[in-house]
């Protein structure tokens, strides 16, 4: 799969997205400023940035959790502001601290997700996802009984179940054990291979480097860089053969933060 192939319809298109939190002082806090990006189907886009860079705000706005103040978001060709329901049918969101329903079992979470997205034959796929996440033995466990890692696995299973065109992951590997991390990575790759576009926000730079085809570096609400790691090296750390970590530090250092992609 080549996500950069021309004429491929975008899974996500963001244009000039800006967001200001009014409660942040006299003039508010600019959380996002003129953010624009395109994500192709099957592409994994890594979203990185220091604390307070606007990563979660960007993801939450794309997911329709926060209202769009300025700019436009289109998911699979559906304008999020005008056709919110159609746009949301194409996306799934996994937050950094998933909170399953205490009164539903693991299997019922999947049953609920299937009904929410209008899926009829969900059992086979649910079984497959549970097996892949090693949650089969927990089918009848209640949401409130799950450990942090299991909650995370369940949230990922629910996200993959309706085969959404776009999945937004905010720190998806928190709380997982090494085997869980490996399984989660494999499932992200497998879903992307099936054509799901993934935006992966994480502070684990090695993870982003390993999975993402392109990276978006945000700093103080602005896009500092958007492109492949190779392009980032050439542009932000010329001559270096370093990892994403080196590029990240170069991009988010005070003197580099003004650069725009």
């Amino acid at each position: 799969m080549d996500p950069a192939a021309p004429n491929r319809p975008s899974a996500l298109s963001v244009a000039g997205l800006s967001k200001t939190y009014e409660s942040g002082g006299e003039h508010g806090v600019q959380a996002l400023s003129e953010l624009s990006l395109e994500v192709a189907p099957g592409e994994i886009l890594g979203l990185v940035g220091p604390n307070g860079a606007g990563k979660t705000t960007a993801l939450r706005t794309i997911a329709g959790i926060l209202p769009i103040q300025r700019g436009a978001i289109s998911i699979c060709g559906h304008d999020l502001a005008r056709a919110e329901r159609d746009a949301k049918r194409c996306l799934a969101w996994v937050g950094d601290d998933p909170q399953p329903f205490e009164t539903l079992t693991v299997e019922e979470h999947l049953e609920f997700t299937a009904a929410l997205y209008g899926m009829r034959d969900w059992r086979a796929r649910a079984g497959e996802l549970l097996a892949r996440a090693e949650l089969e033995s927990k089918r009848d466990a209640l949401g409130g009984e799950l450990s942090r890692g299991m909650r995370q696995k369940l949230a990922l299973c629910c996200a993959w179940l309706p085969r959404p065109a776009l999945v937004l992951l905010d720190e998806p590997l928190t709380g997982l054990d090494p085997r869980g991390i490996q399984r989660a990575k494999d499932s992200i790759r497998a879903q992307a291979a099936e054509g799901t576009a993934v935006i992966l926000s994480s502070h684990l730079l090695e993870l982003v480097e390993e999975l993402a085809q392109r990276i978006l570096i945000l700093d103080r609400g602005r896009s500092v860089f958007l492109g492949t790691l190779q392009e980032a090296r050439e542009r932000l750390a010329p001559g270096a053969q370093g990892s994403l970590r080196d590029v990240f530090f170069a991009a988010t250092a005070d003197d580099a933060s003004g650069a725009d992609a």
Binding site: Y21, R60, A63, G64, I65, L66, P67, E84, R85, D86, K88, R89, L91, A92, W93, G95, P98, Q99, F101, E102, T103, L104, T105, E108, F112, A115, L116, Y117, G118, D140, A141, L142, G144, E145
Partner: protein
């Protein structure tokens, strides 16, 4: 000896200072200051009224015997309640954020118990003063009434702490080692013993049983427990409470001094007894601390009532019916229905309790004829709506931490609003309509006059749930145990309650007006009474449906503009 060491005293002092600083900081913003002022006025006014009543009651006081009996009754009830509570809270309770720090610190365990009891004592001052003022209303020496209550509460805290430690240790050493079969055998034997005692006591002509029955049937004169406490076995049971009862009933300051000394001594002994028990309570305390933290977390998450009760693993086997179809709306409603089904025990208990109490209440409104029956049914519907909707709460309060995820669901805001509240509305409506039919059947059969009330119930319930949730979504706030900002919370709860009542009154009043206007005015134009009643019901129903639709729309808007940054408010 009974005083905790300097580091723990310092900790208590600093925590109190921190609490005080927080209160002041909260009152710095205009909103916080206004809410604090309202809260202060409500709490202060209530307390002032109590003190004023005590002062005014001078001279009206009952006899010493009555005061002593009342104190015995209150004491017996408090002791019973505290002991039962202690059995479910084993070991020493220390908040989760402190327990590991304190257990790892170079402090004697006995000192931790002393510290805990002092802190608990200071925290119960407000409750003690409140209870004391009640007793002081009739105490010959007012101050002794208050002191007896405060000292009684402190001693009770020490007693319950000792019970919690001993019961926990016993459970570990005995109960945990029993097999499941032996445990059930022991429970069965105990149940047989209780049943046998009940059978024995009710079969023969035991003087005290008939006396107790008589007292119960007569009721408690003037709300006092003195009548009940004149029954011999209860009086024997209340013997340990005697020193505090005597102190409260002391006829003069001098006569009360020996009792005062004895009460202080008992309190000090209680603290030392609890502190010096040779039992290692650390594991139990960690368990208790974690259990209580979990309970508080559940209440914080769900906003209290039945929805905060724990869902046991066994209940997960109970299938949840898809009552509202398999559409996205049906799925969201199904998720909420799971809460009702999996907390069925709590739901059933709460429903029966409210319905039984309300039945007793409305029956006290006598009168014959259609109007009286309509009035009784109407009152049942109104109060039932209020109490059942608050008790059986399966609404947005328990989803406050999940609203971010819920907003990503592919449904419209008003669909989400309706679907989330549908199970609660259905449950309360069914319960109320069922109870109304049963009550009317018991009272002599169903009549046509019940029809308007049965039609009004779904609307009244819908109004209350919708308004309650709209106000919550616009100003999300849940009061939970141990939360900071007591004054602001009281003020905010008062304001929000007022807003809810006013809006509810306006909506419910409009239905009432449409119904009563049509019902009463049409007969003047020559329409028969029955037709007027039917047309009135239709008019009320029509107006009610318009109101419900408007509220649904407003609810959807409130949900759409809900700021998830307020999560956990």
């Amino acid at each position: 000896m009974i005083v905790p060491p300097a580091p723990l005293r310092l900790l208590a002092r600093r925590k109190f200072q921190g609490w005080w600083r927080k209160q002041l900081r909260r009152a710095r913003t205009p909103g916080g200051a206004i809410l604090a002022l309202i809260g202060l006025t409500v709490i202060g006014g209530w307390f002032a009224w109590m003190i004023f009543s005590v002062v005014l009651a001078r001279g009206i006081g009952a006899g010493s015997a009555d005061v002593a009996n009342a104190a015995r009754g209150v004491g017996l009830f408090a002791a019973l309640f505290t002991t039962l509570n202690a059995l479910s809270m084993r070991g020493l309770y220390i908040p989760r954020e402190e327990i590991e720090l304190l257990f790892a610190a170079p402090l004697a365990r006995a000192d931790l118990v002393r510290h805990r009891l002092w802190v608990a004592g200071l925290r119960s001052m407000f409750g003690g003063l409140f209870m004391g003022l009640f007793i002081a209303l009739e105490a010959p020496v007012r101050a002794y009434g208050v002191i007896a209550a405060v000292l009684g509460l402190w001693t009770l805290a020490a007693w319950s702490q000792a019970v919690a430690i001993v019961a926990g240790a016993l459970e570990r050493r005995v109960l945990d080692r029993l097999t499941k079969a032996t445990r059930w055998l022991a429970i069965g034997l105990f149940a047989l013993l209780v049943l046998g005692f009940l059978a024995w006591s009710t079969s023969g002509e035991h003087a005290w049983v008939s006396g107790l029955r008589e007292r119960m049937l007569q009721g408690l004169p003037g709300g006092r427990l003195s009548g009940l406490l004149s029954v011999e076995p209860l009086r024997t049971l209340a013997l340990p409470i005697e020193p505090w009862a005597r102190l409260a009933a002391a006829p003069s300051a001098l006569a009360g001094l020996p009792w005062l000394a004895l009460c202080v001594l008992l309190w000090a002994c209680g603290i030392e007894l609890a502190a010096r028990l040779p039992i290692d309570f650390r594991e139990l305390s960690l368990e208790t601390s974690s259990n209580i933290a979990e309970r508080i977390r559940r209440v914080r998450r769900s906003g209290g009532a039945v929805s905060s009760s724990k869902v046991r693993a066994l209940n997960s086997l109970r299938r949840v019916p898809w009552c509202f179809g398999r559409s996205p709306l049906g799925a969201i409603a199904w998720r909420k229905t799971a809460g009702v089904v999996r907390r069925a025990r709590g739901t059933l208990f709460m429903s029966l309790l409210v319905i039984a109490l309300l039945s007793l209440l409305v029956r006290s409104f006598g009168g014959e004829g259609a109007s009286a029956a309509l009035l009784r049914s109407g009152m049942f519907a109104l109060f039932g709506t209020f109490y059942l909707c608050n008790g059986l709460r399966f609404d947005f309060r328990e989803d406050l931490g999940r609203l971010a995820v819920m907003k990503t669901w592919p449904v419209g805001a008003w669909t989400l609003f309706c679907a989330t509240l549908l199970p609660q509305w259905s449950l309360v409506t069914l319960l109320l309509c069922g109870a109304l039919c049963v009550l009317n059947l018991v009272d002599g059969g169903l009549s046509l006059e019940l029809a308007p009330v049965l039609f009004a119930v779904p609307l009244l319930v819908a109004y209350w749930i919708a308004i309650d949730n709209i106000v919550f979504l616009l100003a999300p706030f849940r009061t939970t145990p141990g939360q900071d900002g007591m004054l602001q919370n009281a003020g905010r709860a008062m304001l929000m309650g007022l807003v809810r009542m006013v809006v509810y009154g306006l909506f419910a009043g409009t239905i009432g007006l449409a119904f009563a206007g049509t019902w009463r005015l049409l007969p003047l134009a020559g329409v028969s009474e029955r037709s007027a009643l039917a047309l009135g019901t239709l008019a009320g129903l029509g107006v009610g449906c318009v109101g419900a639709a408007a509220l649904t729309w407003v609810g959807g808007r409130a949900l759409a503009r809900f700021d998830v940054a307020r999560e956990g408010a």
